[in-house]
């Protein structure tokens, strides 16, 4: 267990393993998202209240899931980074923050565009919407802090602390629709119950969510590999790798 933990912390080991997983993740993402999109756009029946605008759900829900999952993953990485000083975790955080910000933006954007025909307005200061906006600013804060501090070690520590403080926002997002009864509808999915929607509607959503998770993992691996290449450029293994690639 301990050996495994230390190997995982080794950037070279991660670089190799991530490189081997990448094609699988990328192709599954492409396949799942393609199937989910066609299924959701063409075959799923229109909603009896919202008509066809409900099809936005098939990208709104996965991006909103990922916006929060990405933050939780960064929080786990931040704990490991603070307790065990694992450098790989700092690199994962650097790689994940812009991606998380992108997914949060997409969730907010698709939500606003969906809100226009459904609620009659692009934006309201609803509890969930506000909490998601705070999440976006948290991501911006993390990115800004990384660039503001030159010293890599100090930058990683400050970022990890900021991430852990901001993690309080995640349960607020999750329970906001239950605590405050406002415009945003309650969750479409619960792990332990059958969904309220008919299966023709939520199965494509499940496929889309899986596809988006694969996509996130693939891009996160690519970005972390780039961070490793940059940060470890003076090490022997990166030099050898660069020579091998450039001699091809």
């Amino acid at each position: 267990m301990k050996v495994w933990f230390y190997r995982l912390g080794s950037p070279k080991w991660f670089y190799d393993i991530a490189g081997r997983c990448l094609p699988w993740l990328a192709w599954s993402a492409l396949l799942l998202i393609a199937i989910g999109t066609v299924w959701g756009l063409v075959f799923a029946p229109a909603d009896y209240q919202q008509g066809n605008s409900f099809r936005i759900m098939y990208i709104h829900v996965p991006t909103a899931f990922l916006a929060q999952s990405c933050y939780l993953m960064m929080a786990v990485a931040a704990v490991i980074s603070l307790v065990w000083k694992m450098k790989l975790c700092d690199l994962v955080i650097v790689a994940a923050a812009p991606l998380g910000a992108a997914f949060t933006f997409l969730a907010l954007f698709t939500g606003a565009v969906w809100g226009k025909p459904t609620w009659g307005t692009w934006w309201v200061w609803d509890a969930r919407l506000t909490a998601m906006l705070i999440l976006l600013f948290l991501y911006f804060g993390v990115i800004a802090l990384q660039h503001a501090i030159q010293d890599k070690v100090a930058s990683a520590r400050a970022t990890a602390v900021l991430i852990l403080v901001g993690v309080v926002n995640i349960p607020i997002i999750k329970y906001s629709v239950e605590w405050w009864n406002t415009l945003h509808q309650p969750p479409s999915f619960k792990l332990t119950e059958k969904p309220a929607m008919p299966s023709e509607m939520w199965l494509p959503l499940l496929v889309m969510v899986l596809g988006f998770y694969c996509f996130f993992a693939a891009v996160l691996f690519m970005r972390t590999r780039n961070e490793i290449l940059d940060r470890e450029r003076r090490t022997k293994w990166v030099r050898e790798l660069v020579q091998k690639v450039s001699s091809r």
Binding site: L41, N52, I56, L99, W114, V219, M222, L229
Partner: protein, 83 residues
């Protein structure tokens, strides 16, 4: 209704997949599909922006990797020439 076991859950899921494969298309023509019952602008705007964001977030790291490898190869050659 809740599930009592994992097996029950998987059996339910498989049943749903098979059932929904028999679903007909929701649109009768391409024009109807594009119009999305009057909500075309909203639906296509969302799908368009998301597609753009996904493509960019996949392509940019790939370009960055090429650039990093090229720069570091150049640096290595310079170091060798300097020695």
């Amino acid at each position: 209704m809740s599930f009592n076991s994992v097996v029950e859950f998987i059996a339910y899921m498989l049943g749903q997949v098979i059932e929904s494969m028999r679903a007909p298309m929701s649109f009768n023509s391409v024009a109807e599909f594009i119009a999305m019952g009057g909500h075309g602008l909203y639906v296509w705007l969302c799908y368009g922006v998301t597609l753009l964001a996904l493509v960019l977030s996949f392509v940019l790291p790939r370009m960055r990797q090429r650039q990093l490898l090229r720069e570091q190869a150049q640096r290595l050659r310079r170091e060798e020439a300097g020695l």
